[in-house]
């Protein structure tokens, strides 16, 4: 209905209708939290204008601080209050001091991590004079609340999305076909693969009982595929819906599991977040411009905060620290072996599949840290992987038949995308092959519809 109305309306009315639809979409979760989006929108709209109008550095900085503190304040209170108050109470307890931490049972608003970061990037860009503030409040409100990417990204930059809001949009056939394909493919990844693997992952990670080393290994690999398909699936659906509306969102995933190094991984995984962290945290605090030690410090700080962004729990912090360590050590190793690599370049190139596999193993261990329910579980599961006991499974169920077929499709299509470097590689196939490919995807999607549905993982952020 929204789409039909959208196609029929003129440009300005399209924007108003999209804004209304976005608010209705968000309020379907919980209408009370619309107020938070509204606060963020109003504060950032006005502070951006105030920053633009002022030439005094102090005042500009103050307005920027107002914007950042409002957004981080909302995020900090709704997402991190419980975690910090419990952790503090626990810390005092370790020293024998009992303090009563006030538990408020705060509900986490869906998508708060995404839209607060999105609006902060807007005011920071204005402050850095990379952007002019939006003239129209309602257009800016649409930038903040644009429904396809509101609850789980990608985290859009104002310089990409705002011009598309200002200008009229031509709906082309290519965009429409591509949009439909992305929606289908996103649904396929979510419904067939992510939901199909969820049962096996939850069985192992949520069990109070005994698990085997093979159970842990398989569940961790499954989780790495589950989170990839869940998150990239949602991003694809968001991009697909946006394309149908004439918008181009940034690509958030570029076949990340074919990366052969941590730095390549972060150029392919959750690209909108990694670029946000690079541009608004890592580079402003110094980046790699001030020597090895400070580069190491900056990487660790950026990745730790990146981990914390994912959730208010220690395992997310450990995951961030882990990736920080991977990035730092990779830099050291790469610089040490640079000459050797250059001398044996062909061999190094031939070893690419091995490097990809090795790095995938490191990535999987990171997902163990991410998925674990407690520090005890991290230690127990790590122990099982290091001291591998036997080759039998105890509890992990086999994934559904549709999921196994779906994984074959995923590996095949992602591999082609990696080889060609083009996410539209299938357009080169002959029409019969393309037709059969789409038919197979739809057929397996229908098979997967009988998997038990799970919530999108990243909705929890």
């Amino acid at each position: 209905m929204v789409y039909i109305l959208y196609v029929l309306l003129p440009h300005h009315k399209q924007n108003r209708m999209l804004l209304l639809a976005s608010y209705v979409f968000y309020s379907a979760w919980d209408w009370r939290f619309l107020s938070l989006i509204f606060i963020s929108t109003v504060v950032d709209y006005h502070t951006a204008h105030a920053i633009e109008k002022n030439n005094q550095a102090t005042k500009r900085r103050l307005y920027l601080l107002l914007s950042i503190s409002t957004n981080l304040g909302l995020l900090g209170f709704f997402k991190y209050y419980g975690f910090f108050s419990e952790s503090l109470a626990h810390l005092f307890f370790m020293f024998g001091v009992q303090i009563d931490n006030v538990t408020l049972n705060i509900v986490l608003p869906v998508g708060i991590s995404f839209y607060t970061f999105q609006t902060m990037s807007y005011t920071i860009d204005i402050y850095n004079r990379k952007l002019k503030p939006a003239d129209n409040f309602l257009d800016f409100a649409l930038f903040v609340a644009f429904f396809p990417q509101l609850v789980a990204g990608p985290i859009e930059r104002a310089k990409n999305l705002l011009p598309q809001i200002y200008n009229s949009r031509n709906l082309t056939l290519d965009q429409t076909f591509r949009g439909i394909y992305l929606i289908l493919w996103g649904l396929f990844k979510k419904v067939v693969i992510a939901d199909g693997l969820a049962t096996a992952v939850n069985t192992v990670y949520n069990t109070p009982g005994t698990v085997s080393s093979v159970d842990v290994l398989l569940a961790t690999v499954y989780f790495s595929l589950q989170i990839y398909c869940d998150f990239s699936g949602y991003s694809d659906i968001a991009r697909g819906v946006s394309k149908l509306l004439g918008f181009e969102l940034i690509i958030n995933f570029k076949v990340p599991y074919f990366s052969d190094s941590p730095s390549e991984f972060w150029r392919r995984w959750h690209i909108s977040l990694s670029e946000w962290l690079r541009d608004y945290l890592y580079i402003p605090i110094g980046g790699n411009r001030h020597g090895v030690f400070k580069t190491f410090r900056n990487l660790m700080l950026t990745m730790t905060l990146g981990g914390l962004w994912h959730g208010a729990a220690w395992n997310f912090i450990f995951w961030g620290i882990y990736h920080g360590l991977l990035l730092s050590f990779y830099r050291i190793i790469a610089s040490l072996f640079k000459k050797s690599v250059q001398a044996n370049f062909n061999f190094f190139k031939l070893m690419l599949p091995v490097r990809v596999l090795v790095f995938f193993t490191f990535t999987c261990f990171g997902w163990l840290l991410f998925r674990a329910n407690s520090i005890e579980q991290i230690l127990s599961f790590t122990n099982k992987l290091i001291f591998f006991e036997g080759f039998q499974t105890i509890i992990i169920p086999q994934p559904p038949f549709a999921t196994i077929i779906g994984l074959i499709f995923l590996i095949f299509l992602d591999f082609f995308e990696y080889l060609t470097g083009n996410d539209k590689f299938y357009n080169r196939f002959y029409p019969p092959i393309r037709g059969y490919l789409y038919a197979s995807i739809v057929f397996v999607l229908i098979m997967g519809m009988s998997n038990a549905p799970e919530k999108f993982i990243y909705f929890a952020f």
Partner: protein
């Protein structure tokens, strides 16, 4: 006029329609190939492979029933024969009356209860064990079986087995709708707690012969469907009625997905993360069935025991929903959650659904403990021999407040006492 953009648009449209045509051809050829490759065997007694089953789960309920039910009992599948209350009770009563065991216990329930019954048989050879069950039978099936059975049944102990995942089945009248994938034909009444009493609606088809007749009698079949539509929450014409699209594998998969959606919706209407909704009519009715089961059994001088199977996905919600009723009314019960954590995969056997045999054994022992603590064994003098040593503690004897401990010695002793006492 620049014709190139127009030509480009025309070429793109032509390309789109070409690909779309090949997409349709692809869908049809996949459907046809799978239909030919994975047909159900002609012989209904031949077990199809997992993959054949997979592509045939979504066949309509009516078509499944017509395939399963032949013109005679011998040409009817075992699944279609299972669970019918009247047939089961008549057969079991015949067997029970000829048993030479000292005591008799009857289990009403489903496969979980049956497994415990088998475990009980092993640990108590003194007992004649009867099982009246149906595939995935909900509590209304078990309760109806008990209430039909109680007068003629000479059992001393009745066990009412309730499976957490079958509670939502109380909103149905037939195993054919609650178990869409493997539609079991048996029927049972539906109970509702209304105006402070148990209102019961009996199915118009109550035995296999009637169902067989309805397959060739349109009027009866339509009446049966109408009754299901009015009373059975699981009934859905899209899932039930056979049509030409039963031959399409794609349509079967869609139907299967829809059945799962429907089942989830019904379950969510009475179950949340916090447990069963105790205000829902289903749970109120369940409590009344349990209470009625207990009081009817006691009135007839029998020992009632409630068996709670808290299976995966339901934590201990079943136990929590019935706990206060069971304890307030002093109804003896055994709950699986005390022995097997429902969400621990290690509680389950190779089929990843039923509890492990060790857990069934422990539950059977718990039943025996209840019997020992509540019931003095009935001995028939002319039957004679006791084969095991047992200690009984009887705490109260009606209003006489007599407490004593009696030890019965082992085999080869004829016991003269003829009376049995059920102590509440």
């Amino acid at each position: 006029m620049d014709i190139f953009p127009e030509m480009k648009k025309f070429c793109r449209l032509r390309e789109f329609f070409t690909v779309f045509l090949w997409y349709i051809i692809g869908m049809v050829s996949i459907d046809l190939s799978l239909y030919i490759l994975f047909q159900l065997p002609e012989d209904i007694f031949e077990e199809p492979s997992a993959i054949v089953n997979y592509f045939n789960y979504g066949i309509s309920v009516e078509k499944k029933l017509r395939r399963q039910i032949g013109p005679t009992i011998e040409s009817t599948s075992l699944l279609a024969r299972a669970g019918w209350i009247n047939n089961n009770i008549d057969n079991k009563q015949k067997n029970a009356n000829t048993s030479d065991k000292l005591q008799s216990i009857t289990f009403y329930g489903m496969s979980f209860t049956n497994k415990i019954a088998e475990a009980f048989k092993k640990i108590s050879p003194n007992f004649s064990v009867r099982k009246i069950s149906g595939p995935g039978a909900p509590p209304n099936h078990s309760y109806f079986a008990f209430s039909k059975d109680i007068k003629a049944n000479q059992s001393d102990i009745f066990v009412f087995g309730i499976l957490a995942s079958s509670v939502e089945g109380m909103m149905s009248m037939t195993g054919a709708t609650i178990g869409f994938e493997g539609a079991a034909a048996y029927t049972y009444p539906i109970y509702r707690w209304k105006h402070n009493e148990l209102e019961v609606t009996f199915p118009i088809i109550s035995n296999l012969d009637d169902l067989r007749k309805s397959l060739t009698n349109d009027q009866l079949w339509i009446a049966w469907e109408d009754q299901l539509e009015s009373n059975d929450s699981y009934y859905c014409p899209f899932l039930f009625k056979k049509n030409i699209l039963d031959s399409s594998v794609i349509f079967r998969l869609i139907r299967r997905a829809w059945s799962k959606h429907k089942i989830n919706k019904i379950r969510d209407s009475i179950l949340s993360a916090d447990g069963f909704d105790e205000k829902s009519n289903t749970i109120v009715t369940l409590k009344m069935l349990v209470k009625s089961f207990s009081s009817k059994a006691i009135k007839n001088g029998k020992l009632p025991i409630v068996l709670l199977h808290n299976n995966r996905g339901y934590h201990n919600h079943l136990f929590l929903a019935l706990k206060s009723l069971l304890e307030t009314n002093d109804i003896p019960y055994v709950s699986s959650h005390e022995i097997a954590p429902p969400e621990d995969p290690n509680s389950y056997g190779a089929d990843n659904y039923h509890f492990k045999n060790e857990i069934d054994d422990k539950m059977a022992h718990k039943i025996l403990e209840i019997i020992h603590s509540r019931y003095k064994t009935k001995f028939h003098a002319d039957r004679g021999l006791i084969e095991e040593v047992e200690h009984f503690r009887l705490n109260q004897l009606d209003n006489k407040n007599i407490t004593y401990t009696t030890t019965f010695l082992t085999s080869r002793i004829k016991v003269k006492c003829k009376e049995s006492l059920y102590i509440t």
